[in-house]
Amino acid sequence: MGSIVVELTNRCNLSCQHCFSGRHGGSAVLPLDVLRKILDEARPLGFTKLGFTGGDPTLHPEFRTAIRMTAEAGYRYGVVTNGWTFPAIYTIFQEHRMELSGITFSLDGGSEGTHDSIRGTGSFRKVLRAFSICVVTDLPFTVNMVLNSRNVDEAERVARMSARLGAGAVRFGHLMPTPLAADMKLDLTPVQRREAERRIRELNAASPIPLVLAPGYHAADLFPCGPLRGDDVNVDCHGNLTKCCHLSGQEEGGGQEDVAGSLHEVSFAEAWRRLVEENARVREEKERRQREGLLLDSDYFPCWYCSLYYRKVDWLRGHPDHPWAGLMWEDAAPAAPFVPLSQLLRNAEPRI
């Protein structure tokens, strides 16, 4: 079994240009009794690992307690953070070092200028300061970089710098479209994404540390990630069990079908059961679309497919110049017979 991503809070001290607006200036905090419920009820279902995210998870007012509870319950855990608060909180990881699988820091540029232009002034130095703490205190860490039009040329620099500064690996992910990122023209085109993937694979071959592509890269495998395989789940900061952290927090999108249930109301097992059922429907539908030749090449970027399926990018219809706007399906409602717009046009034979 895989892991549970837990969004501890949607509070954040930054307003990164590529992030979902639901994570800018939120104030929701996951109550610790929901965390307790997860820890107690997920173990019998086979879950053994938690990954804390946010907002910035370290801004949860009881962050140290959350880590302690998780470690004492016998789970392995990881944390993804922007690094700003690290000097104030790192000792909790030393106290629960055995259970720590690793800390992931977000680094979105190989230069101070690029990273800070996306994440805000001072962010680059703050995250590198967090690296130094990990190195001298022997805490394992990796780097996450979200590729966009501004930083894609710095992927190599991020990889080289991360290796030199002691990171265990770098994970490169694609940008989930957001209105703000669209306004900033941060999205890569499908062709640019493929080129970036090719380059990263090439860099990996010569890299001293693993350079991996996060699920979301172009793949023939229709179910390439933990959530789609039914291994991983997400709990958002409101206590909802949802499919995936990439899909939650997108308050611009209308779709809520990725939400299986509130842990304030139902047991973890019941919400999980609903998600497993929902997953079966998703699998069936995706396979049907493939069989019937309805998948566009862009639909093989699985997170893009999910964004359409779960109606997270309806707002894109108001951005006709966006590189992905023309790749939307005509009807993106889940469980409806999806037909991509371009397919419809191809089928539209003139009638005489």
Binding site: P87, L128, R129, V135, V136, T137, M161, L165
Partner: protein, 96 residues
């Protein structure tokens, strides 16, 4: 040898971090190298503000660690040499 009335300040490309145990770790952005300072080194580093002279810093170290004035100044000057050589600190021009 750096003069006892020299003043040093952290190099602008250095990120310095004080750990919970008081130890200081330095990261030079240009060379992408880490440097960790021992307890005395950390104490000296935190006193490098571009205003205090090496002699004044040595006075402070002398009172904190019960070492002779000569030993204190020798330690401060030696560290200062290394910091400047590694571009971790820069010499301030003497105050006029």
């Amino acid at each position: 040898m750096i003069a006892p009335d020299a003043r040093l300040k952290p190099h602008k490309d250095v990120i310095h971090t004080k750990l919970a145990n008081g130890e200081v770790v330095l990261l030079h952005l240009g060379s992408e190298s880490y440097f960790s300072l021992n307890e005395t080194g950390s104490a000296i580093w935190t006193l490098l503000d571009g205003n205090a002279t090496l002699e004044q810093i040595a006075g402070e170290i002398e009172s904190r660690y019960e070492v002779s004035p000569e030993q204190a100044l020798a330690s401060v000057a030696e560290l200062a040499e290394q910091l400047v050589a590694q571009k971790l600190a820069t010499l301030e021009h003497p105050l006029s």
